[in-house]
């Protein structure tokens, strides 16, 4: 395919970069162009399409993943920044087929309707519960304010996170 070198030149793209990382606890590696986002790499290269695209400019939170435990909009992170990092996506929240309490509470509490924002909310909420065992309603709303949901009005999402926090506490006790 002789057009590829010319194509690269046109797009000012150097040859692909090799990235070694950890995704959902497993070693992973991929090739990417320098300008590609982590969202592109996760979805298109690694096939982890649970991470969703809603705006591709960091305003909707549907593509939220954890980068070294910190929630980020993966559309605003370059794929190469995953080098040596630990990444958690929605596919890594359940444990060996057992749903995380957050996932269970989202289902039992009807905290999703169309479901496109759900992966981002689950990841953002997990980041909150990982660092804060008993968040207040206001803390939950603040932590989730980078994630847009157009279906639920947020009521049931906030309640599901509260309920998941309670269940996680019961497990600890």
């Amino acid at each position: 395919m002789n057009f590829i070198p010319r194509l690269r030149e046109r797009l000012y793209v150097a040859k692909k970069l090799h990235v070694t990382t950890t995704v959902n606890g497993e070693p992973a590696e991929f090739l990417c162009e320098a300008r590609h986002s982590l969202m592109d790499a996760l979805r298109d290269t690694l096939g982890l399409t649970g991470t969703k695209e809603g705006c591709n400019n960091g305003n909707c939170g549907a593509c939220t993943v954890l980068l070294n435990g910190v929630p980020v909009d993966s559309c605003l992170v370059l794929a190469v920044e995953a080098e040596g990092a630990e990444i958690t996506t929605v596919e890594g929240i359940a444990n060996l087929g057992h749903l995380h309490p957050l996932q269970q509470c989202f289902l039992e509490g009807a905290a999703l309707q169309c479901g496109i924002c759900t992966p981002g909310f689950l990841v953002a909420a997990k980041a909150l519960l990982d660092r804060c065992a008993r968040p207040s309603e206001q803390e939950i709303r603040f932590q989730l304010s980078g994630n847009l949901c157009r279906c639920t009005g947020y009521d049931k999402i906030v309640r599901a996170v509260q309920e998941a926090a309670n269940r996680l506490q019961e497990v600890k006790r």
């Binding site: 057009f3 010319r6 194509l7 046109r10 797009l11 979805r43 096939g47 982890l48 399409t49 649970g50 969703k52 695209e53 809603g54 705006c55 591709n56 400019n57 305003n59 909707c60 549907a62 996506t89 929605v90 596919e91 929240i93 359940a94 749903l99 996932q103 989202f106 289902l107 039992e108 509490g109 009807a110 999703l112 309707q113 169309c114 479901g115 496109i116 924002c117 759900t118 992966p119 689950l122 309603e137 939950i140 709303r141 603040f142 989730l144 304010s145 980078g146 994630n147 847009l148 949901c149 157009r150 279906c151 639920t152 009005g153 947020y154 009521d155 049931k156 999402i157 906030v158 309640r159």
Partner: protein, 755 residues
């Protein structure tokens, strides 16, 4: 089909309806496994992108795609020249009709561009970046024309004319010269002059609302394969697989039998994913290059190139006697349709006074084309605008007459037998019940104190449409039932439909395994819209259940060697002559009694009735910034039988919050050239979790007599009342009447300063 008669066994207490099972597609959606449109992958996939108009109004002199086509890695380019020449023909979309020639020009512009962001040409390439680069090589020669973006401006005689083939349809009569006013609707009952003479108080006000978007989080996305045998398969995010098939086939002028539409999981729609945008273009590109083509929009493309809901100008006049009884109502409503005729003015006119029993009324409505994106349905299309106007004047009347606003509404509330201004007579409805529940609610009864705080009330109405639905189900030997239905599931309807089949069969909700079929695997089903799926597709599921029960009674009769008429079935148990068998036991014997049992049904119900809601809101207004904070919110609605109460509440909460966004922040901002200045979620500000409190719900269940389980549609009514309720609350808080949406901080601030 006439109203479905109640079956005897529906009078028993319900075992499944009213419970809250986990939705059947839930695990897929919380683990990231569910396949949405953008997740579709296949071999040899190429990517398409669309070139969009930089002008709000221009003539296209020529389009030259030759340089783009030569770029290595580009597989195909298309323009409207690749589409068949379409004649004026109205085609049914399920929730409204559309002129095929206009639909075609909206998909790929022909001759003229009529809004900034209209699709002009498309490219398919090895990847999306390359396709985007190729777009820059397409040369379009435009002759810019003056744009018009205000609805009143567009109605003027000297306004720039968008179409030379649009003539005002004046109550069925066609005007003799082209106009931007596509249609003038008049509804009249009684004698408006007499009604105004009888009034003690008459209030007339003007209102304006901005263009807003449905704001679904998933951008439009479609993948099309035009196969070597001429068959077209489309995987897409749509509210209606069958209407997407019909639109695509008609635009491409091929038989519907050559198009299969596979509905993917859909990331929100709210009315905005009914019209096709990408599907026919992806199909054309695929035909040219033989590869499957995936096309997805950016967020800016969604804002600029897909249907928002219109901006409007409205004038409403109400007259009331001393006791608060409405004597006259008059409305003059001008809604913009966007670039092509056929906006949502019709339902706007039907809804404006729909909550009340008014003897004398007249409504004039205008469907106006202008240089903005072609509008689309948005949750109760047209009703929210009208309710903002009417319900604000009702509140002002209540204040003037010294009557509690809920009490005033109760004195005028529409009931069974009330005739709406468009002539429709109500069957049993539950508006009075929602008002009484709102009045008795803890929220309304509790005092609100504090400076700059106020409480507002407003009511809202929306139809439930019936339309066509199909479903089929197979009984498995283990007693489970697989259900295939045709309604794309936008918010949990697989479950609300499956629950009605489970209720009918007397089995558990979990024992019905629902799936949404593609256009080759289930009978014709209209769009997921009009608050119809749980009602109409649920009715189909109920009839599937009756069909299965009838067949199973015959199987039981053959086992027991008795007359099938002697076999009864109730709550999942079959009985005859003292013998009995459970559903599961009988299912296990199917292979020995003739093979599988397949139930099927197709419905086109007329008994859809109407949904009413009343909302109460407490706000606090920051006098210095004009920012309005929602302190407390309660939505009350007659939902008929609440099939899955959690999802019913979710519809009410989600609709209320969309209404809050519409009320306070959301608007398209255009510059003088008609370009949208804020096509991102940063600048088009939808509510976040931090902007709203918990939304309390009160479900009022007045059974729908037109459905065997009393189900009404729920989804759309909740968006109708919020802007008016909030406007009324702002007035109580700071004494200013807001008559323009959104009631954003600058507008509220200006109103306070002007007081």
């Amino acid at each position: 089909m006439a109203t479905t008669p109640r079956e005897e066994h529906t009078n028993r207490p319900m075992r499944v309806l009213g419970t809250r099972p986990v939705r059947h597609d839930g695990a897929d959606k919380v683990t990231g496994r569910a396949i949405y449109g953008k997740d579709v992958q296949m071999a040899n996939l190429a990517h398409g992108k669309i070139l969009r108009s930089p002008h709000a109004h221009a003539r296209i002199r020529s389009i030259d795609t030759s340089a783009a086509a030569k770029l290595p890695g580009v597989y195909a380019c298309v323009t409207s020249a690749d589409m068949p020449n379409l004649v004026d023909k109205m085609t049914e979309l399920g929730e409204g009709t559309v002129n095929l020639a206009h639909l075609g020009a909206n998909v790929l512009a022909r001759g003229k561009v009529l809004y900034h962001g209209q699709a002009v040409a498309a490219v398919a390439a090895a990847n999306a970046d390359l396709a985007e680069e190729a777009l820059e090589l397409i040369k379009v020669d435009y002759e810019p024309l003056p744009p018009v973006t205000g609805v009143l401006d567009a109605m003027k005689d000297d306004a720039p004319l968008l179409h030379d083939d649009v003539f005002t349809n004046e109550m069925g009569k066609r005007a003799n010269k082209p106009s931007n006013v596509a249609r003038h609707i008049v509804f009249e009952q009684g004698n408006i002059e007499r009604g105004l003479r009888e009034a003690e108080v008459v209030i007339e006000r003007e209102f304006r609302t901005a263009t807003v978007h449905q704001g679904y989080i998933e951008p439009h996305v479609s993948t099309a394969l035009w196969n070597a045998d001429g068959h077209v398969t489309i995987w897409t995010a749509t509210q209606g697989a069958f209407t997407a098939r019909q639109q695509t086939a008609e635009l491409l002028q091929i038989p519907i039998s050559r198009v299969t539409v596979v509905p993917c999981e859909i990331g929100g729609g709210f009315g905005g994913k009914i019209s096709v945008y990408l599907e026919p273009v992806a199909a054309l590109l695929s035909r040219k290059c033989g590869r499957p083509i995936k096309m997805s929009m950016t967020r800016a493309e969604v804002f600029e190139g897909t249907g928002p809901t219109p901006g409007s100008f409205m004038r409403v006049k109400l007259g009331a006697a001393k006791d608060g009884k409405l004597t006259a109502a008059q409305a003059w409503l001008a809604y913009d349709a966007g670039a092509f005729p056929g906006g949502v003015i019709g339902p706007g006119c039907m809804c404006v006074f729909s909550c009340y029993d008014i003897p004398n009324a007249r409504v004039d409505g205008f469907d106006v084309v202008l240089n903005k994106p072609k509008t689309a349905a948005y949750r109760a299309p047209g009703a929210t605008h009208a309710a903002f106007a009417c319900e604000t004047v009702v509140d002002e009347l209540a204040e003037r007459l010294g009557i509690d606003p809920i009490e005033l509404r109760l004195r005028n509330a529409a009931k069974e037998g009330t005739r709406r201004v468009d002539g429709e007579k109500y069957p049993r409805i539950g508006f009075v019940e929602t008002l009484e529940a709102a009045k008795a609610s803890e929220h309304y009864q509790s005092p609100l104190s504090g400076a700059n705080r106020g409480r507002g009330v407003a009511s809202g109405f929306w139809f439930n449409i019936g339309l066509k639905s199909s479903a089929a189900a197979n009984v498995n030997p283990d007693g489970s039932v697989t259900l295939v239905e045709g309604s794309t599931d936008i918010g949990g309807t697989r479950t609300s439909v499956a629950m009605q089949l489970a209720e009918t069969l007397g089995i558990a909700a979990e024992d019905v395994l629902p799936q949404v079929g593609d256009t080759d695997s289930v009978g014709y089903t209209d769009v997921t819209g009009g608050s119809r799926v749980t009602f109409a597709t649920g009715l189909a599921a109920y009839q599937v259940g009756l069909d299965i029960l009838a067949q199973l009674r015959e199987r039981a009769a053959s086992i027991w060697s008795c007359d099938p008429e002697k076999v009864t079935s109730e709550s999942g148990v079959f009985r005859a002559n003292g013998k009995s068998m459970t559903f599961k036991e009988l299912a296990a014997k199917l292979h020995h009694t003739g093979g599988a049992v397949v139930g099927r049904a197709t419905v086109d119900p007329q008994g859809a009735t109407n949904g009413f809601g009343t909302h109460i809101v407490d706000v606090e207004v920051d006098r210095e910034t004009g920012k309005v904070t929602i302190l407390r919110y309660t939505a009350v609605q007659d939902t008929g039988k609440a099939v899955h109460p959690s999802y019913v509440e979710g519809q009410m909460q989600g609709g209320a919050v969309q209404g809050i966004g519409w009320a306070l922040n959301e608007e398209y901002v255009f510059d003088a050239q008609g370009r949208m200045l804020n096509p991102t979620f940063l600048d088009y500000r939808m509510p976040t979790a931090l902007d709203v409190p918990m939304i309390d719900t009160i479900i009022v269940e007045v059974p729908n007599p037109g459905h065997p389980y009393g189900v009404r549609g729920v989804g759309e009514t909740p968006i109708v009342a919020p802007p008016a309720a909030i406007a009324n609350a702002i007035y109580r808080a700071v004494g200013v009447r807001m008559r323009e949406l959104p009631m954003s901080p600058p507008r509220v601030c200006a109103a306070i300063l002007a007081k």
